[in-house]
């Protein structure tokens, strides 16, 4: 279990995260939800161990800061795509921590072929990553994370800038990881999708975690509306699935659903 206690992060004089305490459940998907600038990405980087903090973050009782003993995959929102690098080369980088840098054993290359198949990238391995579409690039990133066989994967807005079709396919790829027992922590703009996939949701507002708990509970909580300045509404479809929509759109269209 990852345990965060009294976490505070500062960039210079600015305090980005204030006094956060929460636990992240192993083998589940936790989604960090909140408006832009709330500190979600900073929290992800703190969980990765690359950003200085006060307080403590422990993963299996080990402090995470600059700790290379763990195997954590990180999928950034704006990745650096090396010019001229092929999909195979890019996904293969994910093996470097487990197999050692530059290892190209047959088993490693077979494993990568399997992963490319799972993420529907097999056949594209010779293409340049920079020439892939947005959805394919995101899948290549997930494929690299799969190659890493991590115990924890951190994803920063994995579905932003994707159309609905690609959002679903990327989220399904992330589910493959979760099914393998990997702990998933992601940020996500689309709270409806977050509620669909994640078991736990944490609301982050102005650098504070205002609520954390099972998705069902958090989605219907007043804290969620607070975090978004009361500009959202939560509806429940007949199937029981919650739908979150911006307030203005509701007033104009009057979607005929029952308010939760």
């Amino acid at each position: 279990m990852i345990s965060i206690k009294d976490l505070t992060v500062r960039y210079g004089n600015r305090e980005i995260l204030h006094d956060i305490s929460m636990d992240i459940v192993d083998g589940a998907w936790t989604c960090l939800v909140g408006p832009n600038g709330a500190g979600k990405t900073t929290l992800l980087k703190a969980l990765l161990g690359t950003c200085e903090y006060s307080g403590s973050i422990t993963d299996n009782n080990e402090e995470v800061f600059r700790n290379h003993n763990r195997n954590v995959a990180f999928v950034p929102q704006n990745p650096h795509i090396p010019a001229g690098m092929t999909v195979a080369e890019y996904v293969m980088l994910g093996r470097s921590k487990r197999d050692g840098w530059g290892n190209e054993s047959l088993s490693s290359r077979t494993f990568i072929a399997d992963i490319l198949q799972q993420t529907q990238l097999y056949g594209m391995q010779g293409q340049h990553v920079s020439q892939l579409s947005g959805g394919e690039t995101q899948r290549a990133l997930i494929a690299r994370a799969l190659a890493q066989e991590p115990t924890l994967i951190l994803l920063d807005e994995p579905t932003s800038a994707l159309d609905l079709h690609h959002q679903i396919s990327v989220l399904n790829d992330i589910e493959i990881l979760k099914e393998r027992g990997v702990t998933v922590v992601s940020t996500m703009h689309d709270i409806t999708l977050a509620a669909m996939y994640a078991q736990y949701i944490s609301i982050i507002h102005d650098g504070r975690v205002t609520l954390t708990g099972p998705s069902e509970t958090v989605i219907h909580s007043p804290q969620l509306r607070d975090a978004f300045d009361n500009r959202i509404n939560v509806f429940t479809l007949e199937s029981g699935r919650p739908v979150i929509v911006a307030d203005k759109a509701i007033n104009e269209r009057g979607i005929p659903q029952t308010e939760a």
Binding site: E89, M92, G94, D114
Partner: protein
Amino acid sequence: MSPISRIWNWRITVGAAVLLVAIALLAVSIGPIPISFSSILRTLLGLHHGLNGEQRTLVLDLRLPRVILAALVGAALSCSGAVYQTVFRNPLADPYLLGAASGAGLGATLAITASHGNVYGLLPIFSFVGGILAVLTSFFISGRFFAEPNTLLLSGIAVGSFATAVQTFIQQRHSDALRPVYSWILGELTAASWQVVSWSAFYILLAISTMVFISKKLDGLMLSDEEAFSLGINPHRLRIIAVLAATLATATAVSASGLIGFVGIVVPHLVRGITRRVTNRSLLTIALVGAAFLVLADLGARTLLSPAELPIGVITAFVGAPFFLFVLRNKRVSYS
């Protein structure tokens, strides 16, 4: 479903080594007095019927050190060019980027003006120190010792411009130094001797082995720092080691042979373009091809207008630029 193919094939590296040996032999053999391959090989291997007298001196004391120096400088510049391109995530980065060239230029100009013509005693030391000092200054003023690549890049440009300004000023005040300074700036290997070869070989081979040793991990620096960290790399430390090694190689190359442009950009892209691989596992191959390229360029420099010599920098740009454009235009190897 078959496994994905290998990312890097070491046969390419072996091929590059063979190419280098062949070109080096050719370069030792060609000149105003042509000497056969077999005599050269017999002489080098200490077999019977080797060369004697003047021909032996010509091969062992004139052509061979020059060819080896060209190879060392070519390997140093192309290898450090490739490393700078990775570290700064910028395909246009070249070994002279952080002020090494301008600093060395300033050092060389000081040596030339101070020694009134007796240049070769002081020049390599002055230019080496100048180059290293300029890069260290760039590091120092970029703050937090290289926490952020782009800041260092800009500091390097500022330090470089400053050093060039001082150098131009000194040059203007000593008009008699104009010609030697100018010919040094264009690069020359005429000063090659076993003494120059031995000290430059020490630093260049040390730097290149360091870069080749870390080459596999350097691939991680092409990603964001967070991704690199997650793959088990300390990006900050790796960047510092990489830049220091690349700077040592560059400063040594510059002090041994002046400013030879274009090699540091052309050769890495040439190798990546032909092999269609951007992995830094190609570093050793890039060094070998860079060595072969410069040996060939120097062969052109001393034979094309023989007995006059062309500055080697003119050859590298004159031949390198069109060839480079051809590679860039070739769709099969494009890597936009």
